[in-house]
Subunit: 352 residues, 2 copies
């Protein structure tokens, strides 16, 4: 069991600013990076939070991520923006895309920003939140290095390509949906294997493509997509929107953040922003949205102790608390972040 | 076992034109309706094809669907169109929305059409196909009358709100993804019950909200969403985009095509169209798309007899064959369509 410690968010922020600054990331790009990764930590999705600075900074030092990229924005059509990330940090490229889509949608009602030559960009929820805080609905996605097979296949070729949707609510309790196309993360199979437990049917196939409930076999094999062919199809659709359409990598052309150290990742993202004010008077939009939310929240739960939740409810509640409680870290991860902030790069972490 | 007969598509078309014409649907709206429903039949998704004219026409005769609605199109922002369907036939309102989004995206690169006061609009695949045939990528969705519970709930409140994506390919073998948020259609549970078979875990809950493998209990209970909370969240997101944002019905405010005969359905749809030419030169876009398709199609299948399929591949192949083979119908459904074409409305059908 790794030791957990709780770090105040201001201290974490300072540490990350120093670590990024030391490897040459400009101040404005540090802000964008931490807007994503620190928000992820605050939202309780620390697996995709500032701990990812460790591989990010390793890749900067290996020349695979540019600390100070020349990001280019083009406007090939009134409601379309293309962001060429020049192999910059994923959250920098991603937030640039999101903010361009928000700005454009204020004029055109809906806008699409495609990002190419980017890197791992963290989780989707902080982008969805950033859109909501600017009053925008956002539908976004990213491709990712392949971890799933095509449906009916036994060759890893498709990323778990997350999709996220944010819808702004009046009192800030925003609707934030963010999910990957795999039924579960591989981490859950690792945990089951460590505990010596079986995994439920439908999580994974073994190496030969047969269904398995043995987590060790599942880890050697393949995680399954949600809804079988449905999740597979959606993962491919997101690869087309995020990768092909933006002119970035796609399929096996997207590299791993952790395992591939020869080339840039070539990740692609997309952001569709919608201005609700282009559709309905704000009071009508919010009245109808709250009416739908009310229907859902007041409906009968199976377990009276577990009220019905909306997507994002846990993240927004965790965020409100995290400012007081601090953010939980495995001690060796925190030590590694501290080392990076001090310019020490001889890092050992048991599990990134 | 109901008797199957095969109807040539030209004969089916004639029959449907007569049936719709008799209840006062104008010629141009008949065309739009059959562009959706007859295409669905040709694509092999007959459950959502012209047989749906039976309830559609019943609803026209009950005054719940207007045979000749005054559809209004507004342009509240450069890339946004709102279509008020005036309770017209779903495929008419839907195709009007799709075509507006296509036309607008030619100017703006991306466009969003929201449709309100519509009805059941058939399956999504024919809309995706219509967009592809015009060279456009389309992401679309519709809400539907509630058949699922919120995740963790035991009160039916959420439609299975299908999502569809179409991506045009050069030789017409378009990428067509179209899926509902439930793991399976209720029809599959009915079939299992008729055969006295169990259903797999993960398909359904019983009336009390407990997992069940008994199809009879599942039918009394609830179908589950794909990926659990993921499919639930996506169904709610689609309800917001298709229903709330367009100003249509949402949640329990969307009525059933078959079971609710007091009010119009108030279904909402949305269509996001993207012009690939606004992103990349056509030859680059198609070269990259075909490269991704090639990676997927040439990857190793689990069963060597079952090559990897892309979304839409079955539908496009079925469509190519259906023009020769005709379209399979349960005999009583065909008899009912014939009756409608002759102005006879004393229809009995064992299972619509």
């Amino acid at each position: 069991m790794r030791k957990k410690i709780w770090i105040p968010s201001a201290r974490l922020n300072d540490c990350c600013v120093k670590a990024l600054s030391r490897v040459g990331v400009p101040e404005d790009q540090i802000k964008l990076t931490l807007q994503v990764l620190l928000t992820a930590d605050l939202q309780g999705i620390g697996t995709h939070g500032t701990r990812r600075l460790i591989p990010y900074i390793m890749r900067i030092r290996s020349g695979l991520i540019k600390a100070a990229p020349k990001i280019q924005i083009t406007a090939p059509a009134p409601a379309v923006r293309i962001i060429d990330g020049d192999d910059g940090l994923g959250p920098v490229v991603g937030m640039t895309g999101l903010n361009e889509a928000v700005k454009t949608a204020r004029q055109t009602g809906v806008a699409f920003a495609g990002c190419r030559n980017s890197n791992h960009f963290g989780p989707g929820a902080p982008y969805a939140l950033a859109a909501c805080e600017q009053g925008m609905i956002c539908i976004g996605g990213t491709n990712a290095f392949p971890t799933m097979t095509p449906w009916g296949g036994k060759e890893v070729l498709i990323g778990n390509n997350p999709l996220f949707v944010g819808v702004p609510r009046l009192k800030g309790n925003h609707f934030l949906l963010d999910f990957a196309m795999s039924v579960v993360a591989r981490g859950k199979m690792r945990s089951a294997a460590e505990r010596g437990e079986e995994i439920p049917p439908g999580w994974a196939l073994d190496r030969q493509g047969h269904p398995t409930t043995d987590p060790t076999e599942g880890l050697k094999g393949f995680v399954l997509p949600i809804g079988g062919h449905k999740g597979y199809g959606l993962a491919v659709a997101i690869d087309i929107l995020a990768g092909v359409l933006s002119g970035s990598g796609y399929g096996s052309g997207v590299r791993s953040l952790f395992q591939q150290w020869e080339e840039p990742q070539r990740v692609g993202h997309f952001f569709i922003c919608l201005n609700p004010r282009s559709f309905l008077p704000p009071e009508t939009f919010h009245a109808h949205l709250e009416s739908l939310v009310g229907m859902i929240k007041s409906s009968t739960p199976i377990d009276p102790q577990k009220p019905i939740l909306l997507p994002g409810e846990i993240e927004m509640a965790t965020m409100a608390k995290s400012h007081e409680t601090g953010i939980p870290f495995d001690e060796d991860i925190w030590d590694a972040l501290l080392a990076l902030s001090e310019g020490r790069y001889d890092i050992t972490v048991s599990d990134l």
